[in-house]
């Protein structure tokens, strides 16, 4: 069923037209990627030398796409890391993330304007790789992409960008103390490391990251887990889910946090586990017991978190957008972690 038919149905049922569409905000973003400052003049391949590549240790699952990421800071500026989990980026900051399935399909762009506001855009590459053009604000739902799952690819709408990026304290998601820690997690799924990627040490040494608390320089951030599998599982949940599921953003109402905090790693780990392990799910997943938990120790098939990760039914899947293929490697990791969680002693906790 196409979106158009559904829209028509909505109008049919309500008897109302959509009225005047909400006025689009002024589009300040360049129409072409080449004008955003990523590449050297006249090239769509060579990245400018003052643009820094980076590689988060817990990357977002993007249906197997190969990704490259860069950041640019205006000369003479720096990131204020005084709040270790909510960095303050200077005005003029630019970030790019390129998605490829065989060839480049899309480059997402995030910039902080001189007015302090963050702007989101997506550039769609032409088949010949000669150009990348700003996508419509509503995105593109069905883009033919032979290398992508099912041969199709979705360009997110700007509202979709905001849905994920504005759920966290800072809209920059993959460029943070935990994500750029030199103490990288060897079990993190899909962790690519681009050549010359900057990490915390490099950023500090270049003087572009200031006020990072000294303990995080002396001892690079890492998740204080009780096993390697738990470290990687909690890291995956942080990188893929914690941007929305945290205790500070709009979804705090769900009382479920999957975000780690480098400022207090043990407390963050405990807060995450306390909000999901042996906690009844508010969502009743298809095929799950009515009183299923978000995570039930030892029982992947009764853990709603895993069930939703393993679904691509649009009504049930997690994440709810940006993916149409299950991350099998991550699901296997989550399964190993759930298997190792101690089951409540008989007679304690709630019973099924």
């Amino acid at each position: 069923m196409t979106r158009a038919v559904l829209s028509a149905l909505v109008l049919l049922l309500t008897g109302l037209g959509a009225g005047g569409a909400r006025a689009e905000p002024a589009r300040a973003l360049p129409q072409h990627l080449r004008d955003t400052g990523l590449f050297v003049e006249g090239s769509m391949i060579d990245v400018r030398p003052d643009v820094m590549p980076f590689s988060p240790q817990y990357p977002l699952w993007s249906d197997g796409a190969t990704k490259r990421r860069w950041i640019w800071l205006p000369p003479g500026t720096s990131i204020d890391a005084a709040q270790a989990d909510a960095w303050d980026f200077p005005r003029g900051t630019k970030l790019w993330k390129e998605f490829s399935h065989g060839g480049a399909i899309e480059t997402r762009y995030l910039e902080r304007g001189m007015d302090g506001e963050w702007r989101f855009g997506s550039y769609v590459w032409t088949a010949d790789g000669e150009d990348a053009v700003l996508a419509p604000a509503d995105g593109i739902r069905e883009l033919a992409a032979p290398g992508a799952p099912n041969g199709r690819y979705t360009i997110p709408a700007q509202d979709d960008c905001r849905a994920c990026h504005e759920g966290a304290p800072v809209p920059v998601l993959g460029f943070s103390a935990l994500q750029l820690s030199p103490d990288r997690d060897p079990l993190a799924p899909h962790a690519e490391q681009a050549a010359n990627s900057v990490d915390l040490n490099v950023l500090v040494s270049r003087g572009v990251l200031e006020n990072l608390p000294a303990p995080l320089i002396a001892r690079p951030p890492r998740i204080e887990a009780q096993s390697p599998a738990e470290r990687a599982a909690l890291g995956y949940l942080h990188g893929n889910c914690g941007n929305c599921h945290n205790d500070e953003g709009p979804l705090a109402v769900l009382e479920m946090t999957l975000a780690q905090r480098v400022a207090a790693p043990p407390a963050a780990r405990d807060a995450v586990k306390r909000s999901i392990v042996d906690v009844p799910s508010q969502f009743r997943a298809q095929g799950a017991p009515r009183d299923a938990d978000r995570v039930e120790p030892g029982r992947l098939d009764a853990s709603v978190l895993a069930m939703r990760m393993g679904s691509r039914d649009p009504l049930q899947q997690m994440p709810p957008l940006g993916t149409q293929a299950v991350d099998a490697e991550a699901l296997s990791l989550i399964a190993r972690w759930i298997e190792t969680l101690p089951r409540p002693a008989s007679g304690s906790g709630h019973t099924k």
Binding site: M1, V5, L6, S7, L9, V10, L11, L13, T14, L16, G17, A18, G19, G20, A21, R22, D159, R162, A163, C164, G167, C244, P250, L251, V253, L254, E255, Q282, F283, R284, A285, Q286, D313, P314, L315, Q316, Q317, P320, L321
Partner: protein, 191 residues
């Protein structure tokens, strides 16, 4: 004499207009968001789908004892019926709170301020985000038909804040609305 008749007629028209004005709904005070929210809720069809309907001796009517509490959890819906040949696209449950169509089966939400099953823990921001984006809590799955997101997303933030403020004042009803079901074909494929 003709002038007198005209004068009497004019007086009657003026008097009638005053009567009509007195009977017609009054615009809520601009500085009272709860009153404005109530006005919008009562004029924008919210009760049509979010309040369960029941049969009365005057015909079907919204059951205001369960106002805006969404599809009753006790009213378990069977599978959607197969529609007859022709341009039919949707089946509606007897309470006007369950809808089956090409998107699957959707159930209207509990808008009362119950903390566990309604909007009791929501904030004005999550409410605005939901209507504005057409996604549950502004971030989750898409809000399904027949919710007229395409219409309501045009409300101003002030209107939506007023609606939310009013919804937080109505009686809380504990009613956990079922999750939506996938289309029949998709459900079979998942088995």
């Amino acid at each position: 004499m003709k002038s007198l008749k005209m004068l009497v007629l004019l007086a009657l028209v003026v008097a009638a207009s005053f009567v009509r004005a007195a009977d017609s709904p009054q615009a809520p005070a601009a500085d009272d968001p709860v009153a404005r929210g109530k006005y919008i809720v009562n004029t924008s069809g919210c009760h049509d789908c979010h309040t369960p309907w029941h049969m009365t001796d005057k015909g079907p009517a919204p059951d205001m004892s369960r106002a805006l509490s969404g599809h009753p959890e006790s009213f378990e819906m069977p599978d959607a019926p197969a529609l007859p040949p022709g341009p039919w696209i949707v089946a509606i449950g007897a309470t006007n709170t369950a809808y089956a169509g090409p998107w699957g089966m959707s159930f209207t939400a509990n808008l009362t301020p119950d903390r566990e099953t309604g909007l009791g823990k929501w904030t004005a921001r999550t409410f605005i985000d939901t209507i504005r984006t057409g996604r549950h809590l502004g971030r989750g799955r898409e809000v399904l038909p027949p919710m007229p997101i395409a219409v309501y997303k045009n409300f101003t933030d002030e209107d939506l804040t007023a609606i939310f403020a009013y919804l937080q004042t109505i009686p809380a009803v504990k009613n956990r609305v079922p999750e939506p079901r996938p289309p029949a074909a998709a459900a079979v494929a998942q088995q």
